[in-house]
């Protein structure tokens, strides 16, 4: 369970570039919740994720993950239980290391290997990595000795997803992780995401610019504006919603129309 209370963060305080990125934000995610997030450019979606992962410490507020106060916990400590996928597929893997070596790194998060710094990749590990890669259906299981830099963006993102969920995280953060991929690959990675998240009931937050996706995926839809969550729908109310309803609701709550160029583009794509 993720619990965030009165989270505030201002970047460059006291300068002309001062930007209040998160403002008294409150959010509670129940175990197994899969929430999608939409919002304008600069609404604070990525900042929210970075606050959770600890890329920076928040100015004010409380973040509790699974009963543990992580507000001031160091980034590398809390990332042990947090999976994070970025929009840029190059960010999640080490290009000059092989697929096998990348996966071994992800496996480091397992509790049992906490004291296994001097252990090498065992044959059993390799077999397990192979099995998991085969599930992707991308033929990566036969390329385990190849450097990750040779893979396509979609393959790298699928591998990153596998690595982020190899040890089931307490929360999985997906920051438009399919936005930089071509439509066919994006679909594949998205289906894979859905499968993994649903099978393992992983608590998940996903930023998307595709309004239809925002309503179709998961069990909750959040809308963000000016560093806050302005709309939170789930259950029956969400099931009956159309993209138009969502946009209308947003205009009502935020007092302005949604101005995200990519959302507008995706509306054109879908129509």
């Amino acid at each position: 369970m993720l619990f965030m209370k009165n989270i505030s963060k201002t970047f460059y305080p006291g300068t002309v570039n001062e930007k209040c990125a998160l403002k008294d934000l409150n959010l509670t995610l129940a175990d197994g919740d899969f929430a999608t997030i939409v919002g304008s450019n600069g609404a604070g979606k990525s900042t929210l994720f970075n606050a959770i992962t600890g890329a920076f410490y928040v100015d004010r507020g409380l973040i509790v993950l699974d009963g543990e106060d992580i507000t001031y916990q160091k980034e590398h400590v809390r990332s042990r239980v947090i999976g994070h996928l970025f929009q840029d597929p190059l960010k999640g893997t080490a290009p000059h290391m092989t697929i096998e070596e990348n996966m071994a790194l992800a496996y480091l998060r397992a509790k049992s290997s906490k004291n296994a710094y001097f252990s090498r990749i065992k044959a059993a590990d390799k077999a397990r990595f192979r099995e998991q890669l085969a599930l992707l259906g991308m033929g990566l299981e036969d390329r385990m000795k190849q450097p990750v830099g040779l893979l396509s963006g979609g393959q790298r993102q699928a591998l990153t997803l596998l690595m982020a969920t190899m040890v089931t995280p307490k929360i999985l953060l997906l920051d438009e992780h399919t936005a930089a991929l071509d439509p066919a690959t994006a679909k594949k990675v998205l289906e894979l995401t859905k499968k993994i998240v649903e099978e393992r009931r992983i608590t998940c937050l996903m930023v998307t610019h595709n309004m239809q996706q925002a309503l179709a995926l998961g069990n909750r839809t959040l809308m963000m504006d000016a560093g806050n969550i302005v709309l939170d729908v789930s259950g029956e109310k969400r099931r009956g919603m159309t993209v138009e309803d969502l946009l209308e609701q947003f205009a009502l709550r935020a007092g302005k129309r949604l101005d995200n160029d990519r959302i507008l583009f995706s509306k054109v794509e879908n129509s």
Binding site: E75, S79, A94, P95, E101, A104, L105, Y117
Partner: protein, 320 residues
């Protein structure tokens, strides 16, 4: 060429090549793997030399080598501490430590700028008694490099080694995957500088002397060896890359030996190393530039006729 390269030149080039290969391996860890230009290498090399000379003089050659490694690791720890805990840029951290080490090195040598070990036992004099012949120095150097090489090839494939490699390869990924980047940089620099110190220590026993200016330009020379090695064997698995670095170091010493043989003054060698490093690092960029220039020339030739026609047509239009 037969008169230029004699057996004794080959022999001493190999001996120095293997001894200096340890510094090249150190830079392999800090520069190639961690992506940090560690400019404390010069001072750290002299530190290893001075510490080893002092301990050897007291009658403990093996302990001297161990002490040289420990001193190197300590120096690496300080460089890493400055950049991971004090927020100092990595290059600056190296320069600061390098400057400070000058005083430390002079102090280790008893506030003298040089010392000699002519009267005392070294690992080389032990080897001479045990093995005899003329190859004993090379054998000692090869054994040490072999041990270090095997250690590195093993270490860089352990989970800790993988974490260190990932830290240099993609810091974004590492932060998101529960690896402590500060700790990895610290461990990496400690290992690298321990090797630099060992190299300095071995050299002190090899030439039975130590001088405060011994390390000057060491970082450039080691980089030259590293780059020569990587361009010969290319990228690949860790054992292959480690082998390439050792090969590069030996090759560099051959170039130096031949230059000396051709009466190039010793003072000029630093300039030669600097040129090799500058050229080798610039090579990928120059290749790209050359490809662009070729492309531009080809495009110009291809479109020349059309451009001419366009110009003629415009002129014709004006006349009408």
């Amino acid at each position: 060429m037969g008169s230029i390269i004699t057996l004794s030149i080959v022999q001493s080039a190999l001996e120095l090549g293997f001894i200096y290969a340890l510094v090249a391996l150190a830079l392999f860890v800090s520069f190639s793997i961690l992506n940090i230009a560690d400019l404390s290498t010069d001072g750290c090399f002299t530190l290893g030399c001075a510490v080893c000379a002092t301990v050897t003089l007291a009658g403990h050659p093996v302990l001297g080598l161990v002490a040289a490694m420990a001193a190197g690791a300590a120096s690496g720890f300080i460089t890493a501490f400055l950049q991971t805990r004090m927020g100092i840029q990595s290059i600056l951290a190296g320069i600061i430590v390098n400057t400070g080490l000058y005083t430390v090195n002079i102090a280790v040598m008893g506030f003298a700028s040089n010392m000699n070990l002519f009267a005392c036992d070294t690992v080389f004099s032990w080897a001479k008694e045990a093995i005899g012949g003329t190859w004993y120095k090379l054998i000692v150097a090869v054994v040490v490099v072999l041990l270090v090489g095997i250690f590195l090839a093993w270490f860089l494939n352990t989970r800790l080694g993988l974490s260190i490699r990932a830290t240099g390869d993609n810091p974004d990924m590492v932060r998101a995957s529960s690896i402590n980047t500060g700790l990895m940089i610290t461990i990496g620099l400690c290992v690298a500088n321990a090797l630099t110190g060992l190299s300095g220590g071995l050299l002190a026993q090899y030439q039975k002397s130590c001088d405060i200016n011994l390390g000057t330009g060491m970082v450039t020379i080691a980089l030259a060896s590293l780059i020569i090695g990587e361009s010969i064997l290319g990228r690949g698995g860790m054992p292959k890359r480690v082998l390439g670095v050792v090969l590069g170091s030996c090759l560099y010493r051959f170039v130096v030996a031949i230059a000396m043989r051709l009466n190039v003054p010793a003072e000029c060698l630093k300039l030669v190393s600097a040129l090799i490093v500058a050229f080798a690092i610039a090579l990928p960029y120059l290749k790209k530039q050359a490809a662009f220039l070729r492309q531009r020339r080809a495009a110009k030739e291809e479109n020349q006729v059309f451009l001419q026609q366009l110009a003629d047509g415009q002129k014709g239009g004006e006349e009408e």
